[in-house]
Symmetry: C2
Subunit: 169 residues, 2 copies
């Protein structure tokens, strides 16, 4: 178990692409529906993710803001595939690009499938008040906007957002 | 991942106690609410269980009847305790008693806490049509009665059942 502190941002340009050091394709789904977590009948989201040839089960508490309890366990690939088939909502597909910065690492999620067109940058921080430098391609923060949660993207993908939602973080 | 085939019965007397070969105290909770599973907004239940000094995460599909997909993973004890605190509904507490019978093993769950008074016998079978001998203490089958599901007992425990529900399986 760990405490995850994560901030999420939009991007202002494609300039980040030149800084990518590695990328990984990911497919993930959720065993719970988003409503259970957003309405508070459930305290955690339970995610199944295949990253390349590795599979993981992830449990995250639903506290608002950037800080969450997080639990992660390796899964046999056959289990992950069977569990993905038991997920509800859409499968969330993306390529995650890694851009190291000092001791930290930007993760740029470039979504595909029903979320194609959406790109966000995430940064996991060691402390709530940890300092980090803002790259020139970094845009508005969306850490607290629920519709950018991957859990919500599984239920109401980017392709179903209104033009206003797509334009206005 | 495995397929679990399990049948559940009430008991007609205490005669089973003389046949118990071992017993284990268990505390468990669910990360999802029962409604999500019974209403079908979610396809699985996710259970955290501490059995003596061992802790496990268990995921079970919600198909009706005796057959389910089941996934089980060991948990670090500290994770299990943190996850139990994130569960919804009541904590289900019981002592599980084991009574071997040929290649099979009866599991008698004697509940305590908010489910005190309830005792059920479960038998896991290798095949749907597997033969098994009915012990003289075996009562009515309740495999298909949702209120006996442990998931339901976490939401609406035995102490909240009506007298008619307690009397009539």
């Amino acid at each position: 178990m760990g405490i995850e502190i994560e901030r999420k941002f939009l991007l202002t340009s494609d300039a980040w692409r030149a800084q990518v050091v590695s990328s990984k394709r990911m497919a993930q789904g959720y065993l719970n529906d988003a409503a259970a977590v957003t309405l508070g009948t459930q305290n955690v989201s339970v995610r199944v993710r295949i990253e390349g040839d590795v599979a993981k089960l992830n449990i995250k508490s639903r506290e608002a803001g950037p800080q969450r309890q997080e639990f992660e366990y390796d899964l046999p690939m056959a289990d992950a595939e069977a569990l993905l088939a038991l997920c509800v909502g859409h499968r969330v597909e993306k390529v995650r690009h890694y851009i190291p910065q000092a001791e930290l690492c930007w993760e740029i999620d470039e979504f595909s499938g029903t979320n194609a067109g959406l790109v966000v940058a995430e940064l996991e921080l060691p402390r709530l008040d940890a300092h980090f430098d803002k790259p020139e391609w970094l845009g508005l923060e969306v850490t607290d906007a629920p519709r950018y949660y991957n859990l919500m993207l599984a239920e109401r993908p980017y392709s179903e957002w209104t033009a206003q939602e797509q334009a206005n973080p």
